[in-house]
């Protein structure tokens, strides 16, 4: 089959690889009909995530038709149309039983690697480094899905691929980011980053009762999309974001701040230059100017919610501000499974149509070009969907 493989920093290629097979009783094989490039794939593309290896198959946002099922996943059958959550969860450990699916204890075959970095391992993910499982991803014609009796979620035929595909990651991720804000009626929520996760966070914040959402980015088409979602916008390269936020909120600051940017932030201030030099000389792993600003801008007693991906050690985190202002910080990989029934209902009732975020529809062969376009934010690129079949 054809698959999108990581071959090094800035280098992905479409290669012919063997078809996947069932390896464990609870496995299923899915023939992929739609698969997307995630903003977090760009962290892999840019070499920011350790323990990638040449030849790794990328992709963690995919859906398709069940092709083969192991004897341990009897609730699925050949022909079922499913979306596949990006975290792999066993469904039986303490964490899965408490809806913390992305913290599953049993799905990372390389748990010992993650333990060296993080103390304890999180769930294995599709196509997201060996430290987080080393699983082949879904930017391919077929994928093997472990614990298929727990992960794959059947979707009704009357909804299109593009309407349900983002249930795999970015829609629940944006929703969980908003839910983590503990939004009270009429709250103001500021969202850094208007990529797909930011877009879903904006819409979810309103759905959960926010009175006002202020979105911060610098890419015009993303700001426009945020605006269409009901947000007021600020330019992230404006040195006065903090002061503007303060004045827009009557001197209080936003009730909650969402960092949907993550580890490769850009910014207009000195701290960005400092992060850039440190990450380039391997003395730090993450560029964090968005997180710094979110903590700095948040009102006293407010919440900073971090769906943005961070990898390692963060330098110059303004923890004094977090402590003295009594902030709550909530973060985590998304517990996708937990949100699926609720978010599917929103799609079915027309509360939201997640396909608004798609800007590029291409075949699998165009993946290398699309990674470049998406990274460089060229051609109005916000979300790429590939059709392997």
């Amino acid at each position: 089959m054809k698959a999108v493989c990581w071959e090094g920093r800035g280098d992905v290629r479409v290669e012919t690889v063997p078809d996947p097979t069932l390896l464990n009783p609870r496995d299923a094989i899915v023939r992929i009909t739609s698969t997307a490039i995630c903003g977090s794939d760009l962290h892999l593309y840019d070499g920011f995530i350790p323990t990638m290896q040449e030849g790794d198959i990328l992709g963690h946002e995919f859906m398709g038709i069940v092709e083969d099922v192991g004897r341990g996943a009897a609730n699925l059958k050949k022909g079922d149309r499913v979306i596949v959550p990006f975290p792999i969860a066993c469904g039986h450990c303490f964490f899965c039983m408490h809806d913390l699916y992305s913290c599953c204890d049993n799905s990372n075959p390389n748990a010992w690697m993650a333990e060296k970095f993080y103390g304890y391992t999180a769930a294995g993910l599709f196509g997201y480094s060996h430290m987080l499982g080393g699983y082949a991803g879904g930017q391919a014609e077929y994928a093997r899905v472990p614990f298929a009796d727990v992960g794959p979620f059947k979707v009704p035929d009357h909804l299109t691929d593009e309407q349900v595909l983002f249930l795999t990651d970015i829609y629940p991720t944006g929703f969980m980011a908003a839910e983590n804000c503990n939004i009270q009626p009429r709250d103001t929520v500021a969202v850094w980053g208007c990529g797909p996760v930011g877009q879903f966070a904006i819409r979810s914040a309103y759905l959960l009762g926010a009175g006002r959402v202020i979105a911060i980015d610098t890419v015009p088409e993303r700001l426009k999309m945020a605006n269409e979602g009901g947000a007021e916008t600020l330019d992230s390269m404006d040195p006065d974001v903090f002061y503007k936020l303060r004045n827009m909120t009557g001197g209080l600051g936003p009730d909650a701040c969402i960092d949907a940017v993550g580890m490769e932030a850009h910014g207009p201030h000195l701290d960005y230059v400092y992060d850039k030099v440190k990450t380039m000389t391997f003395m730090a792993t993450d560029r964090i100017s968005a997180l710094r600003q979110a903590i700095h801008a948040c009102r006293k007693g407010g919440t900073v919610s971090v769906p943005g991906v961070y990898g390692g050690l963060l330098d110059k985190v303004p923890f004094g501000a977090a402590m003295n202002k009594g902030l709550t910080i909530k973060t985590g990989q998304t517990h996708v499974h937990k949100y699926l029934p609720r978010l599917l209902r929103y799609i079915e009732t027309g509360e939201i149509d997640p396909s608004f975020v798609v800007t590029h529809r291409v075949s699998l062969d165009e993946a290398p070009d699309m990674y470049r376009t998406f990274r460089d934010k060229k051609d109005g690129c916000v979300k790429v969907v590939m059709k392997p079949h």
Partner: protein
């Protein structure tokens, strides 16, 4: 001053060449920053100073966090061989005190205690999650025969007897006198707020010579880690019904092997 120097000595984790490179790069950044004398220059100067610090002290926080030690010959090995635990246990007494290597590891499993106990008590099940074991067979009541995979296809075999057994609580075993390996171990089961806690104590005293080296290798360079991985597989098998793997999945690699999907 002397005290500070000594403290740094123990924290050195950057290699000598890399330290010099850090110093040179840090110096260059600092010089560049001084020349600029503007705001971005200040940020560069900070980074330069950090590099200088790393070069001068030989200590890198990032390396430390990642468990990397590129300094050679300073004897600073953080993740090392088994710890001789200071608390008493059956196994140590059986081996006549603190001889050999003692390992203690525990895991919490979200399954009923009695089920876990039953599975473990049937020693023939152990090789399903203990990768270094080839087989365990019961010879007669209380005596079992253990075959482990050694390096270079050399198998290591011994007989063990149960020396302590309280149903749903503890199983203790010890190798018979005259075995190639002198080992004793116990597994304890207890209820916990998050499931059943399973704790393994293992003590072994490898003989000298070639066989001793083979046995030492059997348990790995880090015996704690070996036992920890065994217990992890036990938990995966009991909770998830299978041990997760990526071995046999496709990749774009033509020749080079992948990172392993399981650690032995």
């Amino acid at each position: 001053m002397a005290v500070a120097a000594m403290n740094y000595e123990g924290r050195v984790n950057v290699g000598r060449v890399e330290r010099w490179l850090s110093m040179v790069a840090g110096g260059a950044l600092a010089a560049y920053a001084l020349k600029r004398r503007d705001k971005p220059g200040g940020a560069v100067a900070l980074a330069g100073a950090a590099l200088l610090y790393r070069g001068a002290t030989g200590h890198c926080d990032l390396y430390q966090q990642l468990g990397i030690n590129r300094a050679h010959g300073n004897g600073a090995r953080e993740f090392g061989t088994g710890v001789i635990a200071d608390r008493g246990s059956d196994t140590r007494e059986q081996l006549g005190g603190g001889r050999g290597i003692h390992v203690e590891e525990s895991v919490t499993i979200n399954r009923p205690l009695s089920e876990l106990y039953r599975f473990w008590r049937n020693f023939e099940n152990l090789p399903t999650f203990m990768n270094h074991l080839e087989s365990v067979s019961t010879r007669e009541e209380g005596i079992s025969h253990w075959v482990a995979k050694g390096p270079a296809r050399m198998s290591v075999e011994w007989d063990a007897r149960i020396i302590n057994e309280v149903e749903n609580k503890v199983i203790g075993w010890q190798s018979l006198d005259g075995s190639t390996i002198s080992t004793a171990g116990s597994v304890n089961f207890g209820e916990d707020a998050h499931g059943t806690r399973v704790t393994v104590h293992l003590q072994y005293n490898p003989p000298g010579g070639k066989l001793g080296a083979a046995i030492a290798k059997l348990f790995g360079e880090e015996p704690n880690q070996t036992i920890r991985e065994d217990l992890r597989r036990f938990k995966q098998l009991m909770e998830a019904g299978e041990i997760p793997t990526t071995q046999g999945q496709p990749s774009g690699r033509k020749r080079r092997p992948s990172y392993t999907g399981t650690k032995a």
